[in-house]
Amino acid sequence: MLGDHAGFILAAYGLSALIVVALVVWVVLDGRTQRRRLADLEARGIRRRSRRIESGAGEGRG
């Protein structure tokens, strides 16, 4: 169906798909890693100023 050069065409589509999928996986995993690290820090009570003010106000200390 793709003629004499089918191997070149399929390799082009296959390698492109591989690169895009690898990119998507890397971005998703990087996002998970960053969210986990941020949650770990917040669990230790280390928060951004704005979050400290929010939680302080919620606890009646604001």
Binding site: L2, G3, D4, H5, A6, F8, I9, A11, A12, Y13, L15, S16, I19, V20, A22, L23, V24, W26, V27, V28, D30, G31, Q34, R35, R37, L38, L41, R44, G45, I46, R47, R48, S50
Partner: protein
């Protein structure tokens, strides 16, 4: 007035993340659908070329990837201006997020170009102006990624990278016009050119649909990578806060 407020709102990383979270699911669905339709039309509906035969089907991935390799660098150059001139808080975040995605699409353009070149030109690679300038673009993306990783302070790294991005942007017109200025194996412009496209509509529409879908995938990936970069900077700031607190104060 409203658009000005929207830009100010987007300068706030927290609001940017909230907006990206709302936009991304819809964007991914539309991107995958449009790209799927474009590639289906390119692979199964568009006719073979009268000279190149079936190998012309590589065009439906090679050309969008090549356009996006330059589009990505153009976005980085605009972000570099945002960093140096307007000091927009998300400008450097955007540039840093775009770099690996631009590098990946440039790699796709190089690999698919090589796979198209071998059966059509009889060679995998030729050191001509178009191919070499795109290879330089790929190396510039890699160099910028290395530079960002080499400097700990993201603000300092952002300013240094912004200068380098702007200097490197001279390569973009060289890539675009290399086929006009020098003798190259690569064909000249056939879509965006004076006098209109030279590609038949049966191939042009699948190409434009594929390019639109690939662009939406590119933008979706950039938004996700920008969210990651914002979180990475928050984590760094929190670690600095933690390190500056007396032991037991956290």
């Amino acid at each position: 007035m409203n658009s000005a407020m929207a830009i100010i709102d987007l300068a706030n990383p927290t609001r940017f993340i909230a907006l990206a979270d709302r936009v991304l699911p819809i964007l991914w669905v539309v991107a995958v659908l449009v790209l799927g339709v474009g590639l289906y039309l390119g692979l199964f509906v568009a006719p073979p070329d009268y000279q190149q035969g079936e190998t012309v089907r590589i065009m439906f991935i090679h050309v969008p990837a090549a356009w996006l390799s330059m589009f990505g660098y153009g976005l980085m150059a605009a972000s570099a201006l945002g960093t140096l001139v307007w000091r927009h808080p998300l400008a450097d975040v955007a540039a840093r997020a775009i770099a690996p995605i631009g590098a990946a699409f440039t790699l796709i353009a190089l690999v698919t170009g090589s796979l198209w070149g071998k059966p059509m030109w009889g060679t995998w690679w030729e050191w001509d102006a178009r191919l070499t300038s795109v290879l330089v673009l790929f190396l510039m993306y890699l160099g910028l990624i290395a530079l960002w990783n080499a400097i700990d302070d993201p603000n300092k790294a952002g300013r240094v990278a912004a200068v380098l991005i702007l200097v490197g942007s001279v390569n973009i017109p060289i890539i675009k016009f290399s086929v006009d200025w020098w003798n190259t194996l690569h064909q000249g412009a056939s879509v965006f050119r004076m006098g209109g496209s030279t590609i038949d509509a049966s191939m042009l529409y699948p190409l434009l649909i594929s390019a639109l879908g690939a662009t939406l995938v590119f933008i979706a990936l950039v938004l996700m990578a920008m969210k990651n970069e914002i979180l990475r900077r928050r984590i760094r700031a929190l670690r600095l806060v933690a390190a500056s607190q007396p032991v037991g104060a956290a």
